[in-house]
Symmetry: C3
Subunit: 489 residues, 3 copies
């Protein structure tokens, strides 16, 4: 039986060769060595993580170690870190036979991406003009995690259809694209986007969707047997959902201003998320026969409120404003899963495995627009003079910018994110179409067997249709026999 | 075969109609809109989360942003948040086919409850006398999570036997009951209860048990096939257990006094929990043939020490005192599962799915009593003068209260919690008996099929007895055939 | 059928009696009572967790409650706590039928061990010379968790092959061994080891490996059917892996110096971990036919970078230095799984269930060496004068020690850890060979059935070979019949 399976597999592999034995190790080794060399040349500790901190403290009259930025941001950093690895990772375990790939490749590209992001973001934002090095501290590693999030969102659209090597390439290009886009939005346009509705979510989603469009597989139906969930995989995915949901207030507040900025960002996000849970349940139930809830909606659309608060979280959007944002996003996102995802697959040829268009693209766009409006309507009466200056950084070169102008720049930032997402996606999509990346055949999409040693038993899902038809008569006996082999060996 | 199943289901549905397609969306929409309106009227940022913080800081001579309450409490808040959504949620995934409902409905009612709690607790505790608004900050959102915990405990007794609409109603009434009870205990009686042994656990448990008593189902045996766990569901439940267990020190210290109060509360809870693990394992092994441990005990009774330290955690109960509390609670709680739960089901007609009587009611009562005794025996020699005043808030109107008197008031607080729990439970139980809430038939309890789109395969558990008997001869073939259908479609 | 199984089991039990009904409760009760008595005699709150803190603050001119050590270390403590209970616990759920034992016994011995560690470490490090008591605060409970980690690592080698009573004994002896070893390394030799590469990992791993060597089971093949994973158990194990991986920066920084020490330790660990993920994936893919990744490597070797940074994390090893450490460890650890584990089992008679030799022993040794080298090469130009003194505590008696000497002492510390690990392992291994600890028979290793009430259904894995052979012909019918029994009862 083993031979038979191997033979069948050999047949399918003639068309595609998903063997990554050379390419994956090569990519991992070479890029990791490159990271080491580049870190050796460029990356140093900043003054808060350097052993000279004690001297620095005295020089700057800092009264206590607790004023080290570490204590302001480390708890939020750890929450963000959990979102990146457990949140995104487990959210992608929902497929019945792609949990290894979902959580495993997420792990791989995030671990590579964060190193690469420290360098790219460092060159653009944190380069020391004196000695040309990048000085890193807690804020840099939060930003690196943020940068990685953009690529993980893109992975969501491609889940199950690409090889780990393709994902590494996607990350290799995605990180610099992100860093440039972020530089233009935050520094050139001086836009505020603490939780990254535009910078992270809009960019990441359109980057992934464009790549998915270019990598369109007309015969993806051939692996339809594996494109759904099973009971336990849906529960695993809820681990991802809940850790994302719970820690999103930390995500949006992680790099906002000390004091009221972080405090307000956390509260606003907390409220928006709560609100989108209720509307998600409502639409999910309303749209189904007998009002049965769909796990896909609960796993994803409940998070839309957090995405949409990414820009405005640190503004004075007011508690009820946050609830309204969440209210709308839960509705829009759930409708997306019901209507847009099938539409996009059928007519726009975009196969979006996790539905990132509904979870990241639309709420991200909405978040950018809400941010622009909230910024444009900001006033000294609401923020206080000092509060307005602090919140929007109207200092130095930007001292004379008005809230209305700021609103315009915020909107411009959204366009930049879109352009980079789609443009970058076209570029990287074309690269990923090259024939040597080891992507799976249409029949083997969503199947961990292709890239992982999957444990022998529990093989309830037969790998290929023909094999199944052929074996049916002998099925029970064969199973028992193969059990024996295991037992007796 | 599909028709046959549908037909069988149709038969059972004649008696009960668990279709929530209209009621659930209606409840979610209307209540969420009500929240938005009420938040618009009443809820504002407090001075620490408002953009005027910079001015406020200068006025009050606060030297640093790190003095913002956010930095004192945010890490504890996130731990509490994890307990509410992952802890309570996954603890309720232990049933073989109710994991979606366990974690999903927990998510729904917590997301609604926290908004409602911000309002209700705000009106009672945080109303600004000048402009009639509620000013919210980090402490409010911790308190909202606490308030929600009361309703989630109640859900534990009803798990699998009620519809999501009933749970929303339970929460709608539970939150104001909690807020009034909390106001009487903490403000009128001036009782200390930082971790909520009385306010949260005693109230929540008796609220849920009373409702369960009123909703008694004499024929619940009809869904006995689904009332147990399977191997993997027990492992999922351990995720809930462990996150509750690990973060309970944060729960009990989240709103205690800055400095030594939070510090001591965390240490005491840490010790009590460790101690109850050992006695739980001991009793569980002692009570079984061949000493085999029971997962139900490990999942639940190990947490009893945390519940019982809810009141006394911030007192000078001393480390060995905490160990003694945990020691007793592990024993009592495990005995509860062995003896009381079956007794209550048989003779008192209380069906308590998760055994909240053992995990919350008894340890909560005990915690209240321990708190009263510890308070009554407090002395200046142990606390220091300032320490005694700080710990029990013997200031202003209460400056002359003695520890002995405080002990009496603590005991009175426990009675208030009991009265509100039972009284509120009777009221809400009667409301939930009304025939239009869409609760499942006795045959369909503990079954996700009723309210969720459950993935097709892995249907190892046949839905109804008759169907099973009938199909047995054709079983193997049918399975193969249905596989085909999936493959070929 | 039930009788038949019981009969088979009875047969095997003749050789070994794994009934722990008397011994486990006895051990839990007696030791817990001993803890209570010893805590009553010795353990008190320290000045930061005592109600006299307010007075202490004024005396010491501490300006704010935020200077309480609680706020410096509590977030890290909670992360470490998660690593101990969820990280180690779920990492050990990978076996197909030993998830209860993996996560459950981990829970039991950690809960006992942390109490015992508070006492033992207290006697050696924190004894108040005035009144002979141990004053505990946040740093003590972090240290207790660390101490427990040593025993949990040892459990990894023995997973599935020992009884819970044996594990309690292993912990009972392991904790004092750890405390003495730690006292010699940190206090007598004045070695720095904040993240415990030597103190925790080297000691724990050799302690466990030596015990496993003494408890060698030549016929372990008899339970080979249970020694692998299944699909879902591998996903559960990834929960453990990821929480360990994400929170390792907190582990290595939890008790380093306030300010730059904690900050730098977190960043270095973050980088080393990222680097070892890439080399783990590379070697795993390179070593397999068709480049298929092995979950065992991903679950374990990705963590090696964190282990190896345990000593040097708080030093100025520089960011690229951290990357190099992670790079090497990922390679070494994965090779260990490929080559050394089978070699050790075959030729050295060491059965190492979780491969702790690859995850803890080798990276721990390497970490000790790296720490020694980094310390020996430290200089004032890199650290600054004050920084050098702070980092290596060159104060008081040690004011004249040079970095070079320190390097030598670091190396000496590594030897001490090794000696205690192996010596302690021999001692405890011999004790555990005594015949009355209730360890499972060779046929029942890796089987939860022995110590747990396992839910009836999902029994896809037949318990014993003979039974399986016998029943094969009647298999389908019997299964249906047994279903009936469940239904009708």
């Amino acid at each position: 039986m083993g031979n038979f399976v191997a033979c069948c597999k050999g047949f399918w592999c003639r068309t595609k060769n998903p063997d990554v034995r050379i390419s994956l190790p090569a990519v991992c080794f070479v890029w990791q060595i490159a990271m080491i060399i580049l870190f050796g040349l460029f990356v140093r500790y900043n003054e808060e993580s350097d052993a000279h901190w004690a001297e620095h403290r005295q020089k700057k009259n800092i009264t206590s170690d607790i004023e080290n930025d570490f204590y302001y941001r480390y708890p939020s950093f750890q929450d963000v870190h959990v979102m990146i690895f457990v949140g995104f990772g487990f959210l992608m375990t929902f497929l019945k036979r792609y949990s290894f790939g979902g959580v495993g490749f997420n792990f791989l590209i995030a671990a590579f991406g964060l190193q690469w992001a420290l360098l790219m973001q460092g060159w653009f934002h944190f380069l020391d003009p004196v000695d040309g090095t990048i000085k890193i501290g807690i804020e840099n590693i939060i930003n690196a995690d943020f940068c990685v999030a953009g690529c993980l969102i893109a992975y969501g659209a491609l889940l199950g259809k690409v090889s780990p090597v393709q994902l590494m390439v996607l990350t290799l290009f995605g990180i610099p694209l992100f860093a440039v886009e972020e530089y233009i939005i935050l520094h050139v346009l001086h836009v505020r986007d603490a939780g990254g509705s535009m910078v992270i979510h809009t960019f990441g989603a359109y980057y992934g969707l464009t790549i998915s469009w270019i990598l369109y597989r007309p015969k993806l139906d051939l692996s339809k047997r594996l494109s759904g969930s099973v009971y336990h995989s849906d529960v695993f995915a809820m681990i991802g959902t809940l850790f994302l949901w719970m820690f999103w207030p930390s995500f949006n507040s992680a790099i906002s201003d000390h004091g009221d900025g972080q405090h307000r960002a956390a509260i606003n996000t907390y409220l928006a998320l709560a609100s989108s849970v209720l509307t998600t349940f409502a639409i999910s139930s309303l749209s189904a026969k007998k009002g049965k809830l769909d796990m896909v909606h609960i796993q994803n659309a409940t998070l839309a409120g957090g995405v949409a608060m990414g820009t405005a979280a640190e503004f004075m959007i007011s508690p009820y404003g946050s609830l309204i944002v969440g209210f709308c996003c839960g509705i829009i996102s759930t409708f997306g899963y019901l209507v847009l995802t099938p539409f996009m697959e059928k007519y726009l040829k975009i196969q979006d495995t996790c539905g990132i268009h509904n979870l990241h693209a639309m709420p991200g766009l909405l978040g950018g627009v809400i941010g622009a409006i909230t910024a444009a309507t900001a006033s000294e009466s609401v923020y206080g003079h000092e509060g307005l200056v602090n919140t929007f950084d109207f200092e130095g070169y930007y001292a004379k910018r008005t809230p209305a102008t700021q609103g315009g720049f915020q909107a411009a930032g959204l366009c930049v994110a879109l352009v980079f997402g789609i443009g970058g996606g076209i570029l990287v999509g074309c690269i990923l179409r090259l024939p040597f990346w080891g992507d799976p055949a249409d029949e083997n999409c969503f199947d961990d067997e292709v890239y992982w040693e999957v444990p022998e038993d529990e093989e309830s899902i037969p790998p290929i249709l023909e094999y199944n038809t052929h074996m049916v008569g002998k099925n029970a006996d064969m199973t028992s026999e193969s059990n024996f082999t295991v037992e007796q060996s």
